[in-house]
């Protein structure tokens, strides 16, 4: 399915991530407020150009496709890399690439590609929905082509550390996307206590913060959210594969009743169930990337299929992994809980499986 280049890239990436993001590094970053290491972030940019992946070549990026990005996200998901990659290099970069004016692209994309600048995408509010309907944050014209943003944004990934925040807000009876600085006047940012400590979320309060308009229509933003859901699906596949490996490794060495527990059918069948769901999840996730790269018109439908399926598959695998590990799996020291928490948090990110299933129905006209 993947090209030789993609497979080689995966190998390089896996080696790099093993070095920069061992479990000890994940645990160290989890405990910090910012949640990532600027040194590693810089190395990601200079050694592999990861942040430049989605940025078109004319803006100093690599101009690669969604499948390439999915390979990267799958690998990052395997190791629970703590970095603003999803928020900045995927969500914000895609939003700018797909929706913004040429001026904004020229101003923001090169710095995002270098990793010099980070950006976050603020959509959901207190009700936690990833929908552009019913937003209460507003953008009011403030002269000189600028706007003032007022409202609250919740559950913003890396919202408290991003240099630039892209805010979805109501404007003129519609919805648009606005750009404000992380240090803007009237912007109060506060990290939230999160279930998944490997990915930081923040609450933003906007009190007339000055902003520029990136896009005055909502369609592009809605499409970007769907593409990102398809990319997160690949990250979920990576995490799910890793927990299955952990389960198989443990079941092979852990002995009870004088035998490896992996020789018992109860354990085998759990592992087989995990394997099956992961294989189908992988097929579903990469179908989104391929559809996007080929410009196929069912990409948004496939994204909802993938996000709903992969979310449930990852959560299932992460829970079974804890069960297969038994007592040790319930300890803080064992990494199994880190994956379970990522699985649960990412299941609800960008729309729950149930919301995506509703989305599928409406795409089909039901």
């Amino acid at each position: 399915m993947l090209t030789t280049e993609q497979q080689d890239f995966r190998v390089t990436l896996r080696r790099f991530l093993a070095e920069v993001s061992p479990e000890s590094a994940v645990r160290a970053q989890m405990a910090t407020r910012d949640g990532f290491s600027p040194t590693v972030w810089k190395r990601m940019a200079t050694e592999l150009g990861l942040q430049a992946l989605l940025v078109p070549e004319e803006y100093g990026g690599l101009g690669l496709g969604l499948v390439d990005l999915q390979v990267v996200m799958e690998e990052m998901g395997r190791v629970l890399l703590c970095a603003p990659f999803l928020s900045s290099s995927v969500m914000a970069t895609l939003a700018i690439r797909e929706c913004a004016t040429a001026e904004a692209k020229g101003r923001l994309l090169p710095a995002l590609a270098d990793g010099e600048l980070t950006a976050a995408l603020a959509v959901s509010e207190r009700d936690g929905r990833w929908s552009l309907d019913g937003l209460s944050t507003t953008a009011e014209p403030a002269g000189d082509g600028l706007y003032g943003l007022t409202g609250e944004k919740w559950f913003v990934i890396d919202g408290h550390t991003a240099d630039v925040v892209l805010v979805a807000a109501r404007v003129d009876g519609g919805v648009g996307l606005f750009e404000t600085s992380g240090g803007a006047e009237g912007l109060v940012r506060e990290p939230l206590t999160t279930l998944d400590e490997t990915r930081k979320l923040a609450r933003l309060e906007l009190r007339g913060s000055p902003a520029r308009v990136l896009s005055a229509t909502r369609d592009g933003v809605a499409r970007v959210l769907q593409l990102v859901a398809g990319v997160v699906a690949a990250e979920q596949v990576g995490g799910a594969r890793r927990v299955l490996e952990m389960s198989v490794e443990y079941a092979t060495v852990r002995e009870q009743f004088g035998k490896p527990i992996g020789s018992f059918q109860a354990i085998k069948h759990k592992c087989a169930d995990m394997l099956m769901q992961i294989e189908a999840a992988e097929a579903a996730a990469y179908a989104v990337g391929r559809a996007a790269d080929q410009g196929s018109d069912d990409v948004e439908l496939l994204a909802s299929v993938a996000k709903s399926y992969c979310s449930d598959a990852y959560l299932f695998a992460a829970a079974e992994n804890i069960q297969i590990h038994g007592g040790i799996g319930f300890t803080w020291e064992h990494p199994a809980h880190l994956y379970y928490k990522r699985a649960k948090a990412s299941q609800l990110l960008l729309g729950s499986p149930g919301e995506h299933r509703e989305q599928i129905l409406s795409s089909l006209g039901i």
């Binding site: 399915m1 059918q265 394997l275 579903a284 299933r357 509703e358 599928i360 039901i366």
Partner: protein, 412 residues
């Protein structure tokens, strides 16, 4: 998009494959009409919701004859044995061509080839691998030429998942072998010409070593076929009693005592072939259920919406997984591909049956006479058997755990 393009969406074809596809499409279009859409077929004919084809004595001979006649046409046009050896009348093309042909054929209204499938899909390939040139010519080629039908005589009342436990005895006689015993869950037995039988020829050898594979002429003296009535009320399988059946020595496939290896190769061939047929059934069923829920105005109910969209997601993911496996080169296969596919299909079948009951409510359990309603109960009942037939869910999951994940075998 043309029908042809839609059927082959996502396939990358070489020049040779494109040429093959063009010829096959030309042949099929000249012979048969294209298949209808579900919405066009609503209310017309048989609902066709029994997962195991159920038939009666009167109907089945006609069905078998229709299948043989179509197989004959295929053979004459050069599509009867696409991946078979040229020396025995095959086209000698790689497996992939056979799959492409089947994909194309799926778009047309053709007779149900189920009566032939064991012969052409399992028995034939096993004969090519293990049989003598004389056996291939005498027994395998006619299966593809549309001249004869084969069945598989493997399972027994006491040998289900533990197939190597077969008790049917093969004893030496002057001209070959005499068979005594009982086989069960045999498809196609009432009209088959050949039965590929796994029998115990050496009761003193260890369990797996005392077995031999023998081709039994189904019309021989002492072969008795009895229909088995399954819980659906219909009949898809038979019991086959072998009472002193005389079989010539030349019908032994492979060497005496090599039966287990032949059986495993036969089943492996079956496991390798991840087909489209079950996926097409799933797609038809999901489309029918949508039509049903829409016609009955049931999509206002959030429970119905959720039940249907879940089977939709299962359909898409199962199909994408199947396509992923089909696109992998064979050297990357683990040999457990079909096992996984079958598990997915079995789960989808069951969920579809449950979804139908959610949409229909009481009309699922009592016949109101409306087309496409009560007959869904047959689907759900059939799905119970699908988890057992051809490897139970449990046996297949154990296989995945051991072959793909390399978990230790029991007792080690």
């Amino acid at each position: 998009m043309t029908v042809e393009a839609r059927v082959l969406a996502g396939e990358t074809l070489s020049a040779e494959e494109r040429e093959f596809v063009a010829r096959a499409w030309e042949f099929l279009s000249g012979e048969r009409p294209l298949r209808h859409e579900v919405s066009e077929q609503w209310g017309v004919g048989d609902e066709d919701l029994a997962l195991f084809h159920e038939t009666t004595d009167e109907r089945e001979r006609a069905e078998a004859d229709a299948a043989l006649a179509w197989q004959k046409r295929r053979w004459e046009a050069g599509f009867g044995w696409i991946n078979g050896p040229v020396a025995y009348g095959g086209r000698g093309l790689p497996e992939r061509f056979d799959r492409l042909y089947r994909m194309l054929e799926g778009a047309f209204e053709i007779p149900d080839l189920n009566p032939l499938r064991i012969g052409t899909g399992t028995v034939g390939p096993a004969l090519v691998t293990y049989g003598s040139p004389e056996q291939i010519e005498r027994i395998a080629t006619p299966l593809y030429r549309g001249d004869s039908i084969a069945c598989q005589l493997f399972s027994e009342p006491a040998a289900g998942s533990d197939l190597a436990g077969v008790l049917t005895r093969g004893s030496r006689s002057a001209g070959g072998w005499v068979l005594d015993g009982q086989k069960v869950w045999t498809s196609n037995a009432p009209f088959a010409d050949w039965g590929m039988a796994l029998v115990r020829t050496d009761p003193d050898a260890s369990k797996h070593k005392g077995l031999t594979m023998i081709m039994v002429p189904m019309r021989a003296e002492g072969v008795e076929v009895r229909r088995l009535k399954q819980l659906t009320g219909g009949s898809s399988f038979a019991e086959v009693f072998l009472n002193g059946v005389e079989v010539p020595a030349g019908n032994v496939v492979g060497a005496e005592g090599e039966g287990w290896a032949v059986a495993m190769a036969t089943l492996a061939g079956e496991r390798k072939a991840v087909g489209n047929r079950s996926h097409e059934r799933i797609e038809r069923a999901v489309a029918l259920l949508r039509e049903l829920a829409e016609r009955q105005g049931r999509f206002d109910d959030p429970i119905v919406r959720d039940a249907w969209v879940r089977v939709y997601v299962r359909m898409v993911t199962t199909r994408l997984q199947q396509q992923k496996v089909q696109s992998l080169p064979e050297e990357k296969h683990s040999g457990a591909e079909r096992a996984m596919d079958k598990l997915f299909v079995a789960a989808a079948f069951r969920e579809i049956g449950e979804c139908a009951s959610v949409i229909l409510g009481p009309a699922f359990v009592a016949d109101t006479g409306d087309w496409g309603t009560f007959s869904w109960s047959r689907w759900l009942l059939g799905s119970l058997g699908y988890r057992i037939a051809g490897g139970t869910d449990e046996i297949l999951k154990t296989m995945l755990a051991e072959r793909v994940l390399r978990l230790p075998r029991a007792g080690k």
